[in-house]
Symmetry: C2
Subunit: 205 residues, 2 copies
DNA sequence: CGGCTGAAGAATTTATAAATCATTCAAACG
DNA sequence: CGTTTGAATGATTTATAAATTCTTCAGCCG
């Protein structure tokens, strides 16, 4: 790690500490700078804006989550079990993270508004994992042949959106969310099963 | 219609006009009272609060929508087509309603926060229609036998939540929403098709 | 006496001035 | 010359007082 990266990391850690403790909007650039023993202006040589620091934090969080995703996906279990583990892991992790640190929700909300592409990119990355499970499932012979696994993954994400930021979308308790997630996944997986057939229609709706 | 109901309706209409034109929070009880040629205090003999007027408005809107739902459900079309029509109708209707009258979103948002039961009740009502279509589809022989159609309907609602208040949940354009709705519905309906099988698992997640 | 008003109170919103903040950049520094 | 600073700037937030607003209810009509 060179000097530049080192300073960047130091800023990121100092900011993360404050964002988590006091919240994003209650943290000032001067405070972060003071923690790093530099001037506020100097931070801008490493990050284009305060929002970019938050985005970098979120990116780091996502990359850590990707490690878990990768582990879950590469297990030698049936595809169906891996799907369940994947989405339940995601629900439990974000739910408890937000419950323990309400400040995370603030950052998520701000990014959702100010950096919508950020979430799209994360979803696209996640789809790589989903496609892998889908293809494994097809090879296993439990999932029917899919025309376009990536699109199918996209639709699974759309159907499971409300479990992604549980507290933002629904204010349901974890129990209820688990119950719904299980039910929706059962339906989706039934739809992927060999023997299932998509409706044939000319959608003149 | 007796005197009481008549006054109630007059208040409701006057309030609705103002809520739609100026928004809920920018409308005062005195203004509504003036429109009805009565004192603000007198409104409280007909509605317990300003919020209750908004709820009554939304209830009326839902009942009107129920008429369309009932029409769609009772058509002599295949169950699958009716499902598509049902949910596409719902998407188009709320999307354009909110687009044309942004004030509706304000009311929806306030009710979501202050009267969560209101939405639950509406969802429960909607499920009656969904269960009907499900049972028809089973009779038709296109849907597999379901253990508990009401729960299945609940799961469909959970999976299609993001299409319910499109602008609040996602800021996607109507095109993209239609595309996703079609995809998710195809998957769900495939999961209901005869031949589809729910995963057997012991969910030790 | 039932129906209505308008004054009164508590809560919320608005208005506005002061303070703080994110960000930029010329100049100082090493 | 590349780094860093700190003052300058425009935007945002905070603080606070004034004004509105929702809601209640004692008392006034008809």
């Amino acid at each position: 790690m060179n000097e530049q990266d080192c300073t960047r990391t130091k800023i990121l850690e100092a900011a993360a500490d404050r964002f988590m403790h006091y919240g994003y909007s209650k943290t000032t650039m001067s405070e972060v700078a003071r923690d790093c023993e530099m001037s506020a202006g100097n931070i801008y040589r490493f990050f284009a804006s305060k929002l970019d620091i938050a985005e970098a934090m979120a990116t780091k969080f996502n990359h850590e989550q990707d490690i878990d995703y990768r582990r879950i996906v590469s297990q030698s279990k049936p595809a169906i079990d891996r799907f369940f583990e994947f989405f339940f892991f995601s629900l439990e992790k974000t739910y408890t993270a937000i419950e323990e640190e309400a400040k995370i929700l603030e950052i998520a909300e701000i990014l959702r508004l100010e950096r919508p592409e950020f979430f799209n990119e994360h979803l696209a990355q996640e789809r790589v994992f989903l496609v892998k499970i889908l293809e494994d499932g097809i090879a296993e012979g439990v999932f029917r042949k899919l025309e376009d696994p990536n699109t199918t993954a996209e639709m699974m994400q759309a159907a499971l959106m409300k479990f992604r930021f549980p507290q933002a979308y629904s204010q349901l308790k974890l129990d209820k969310l688990r119950y719904e997630l299980e039910g929706v996944m059962r339906l989706l997986l039934a739809g992927l099963s060999v023997g299932a057939r998509e409706p044939a229609l000319e959608l003149a709706v």
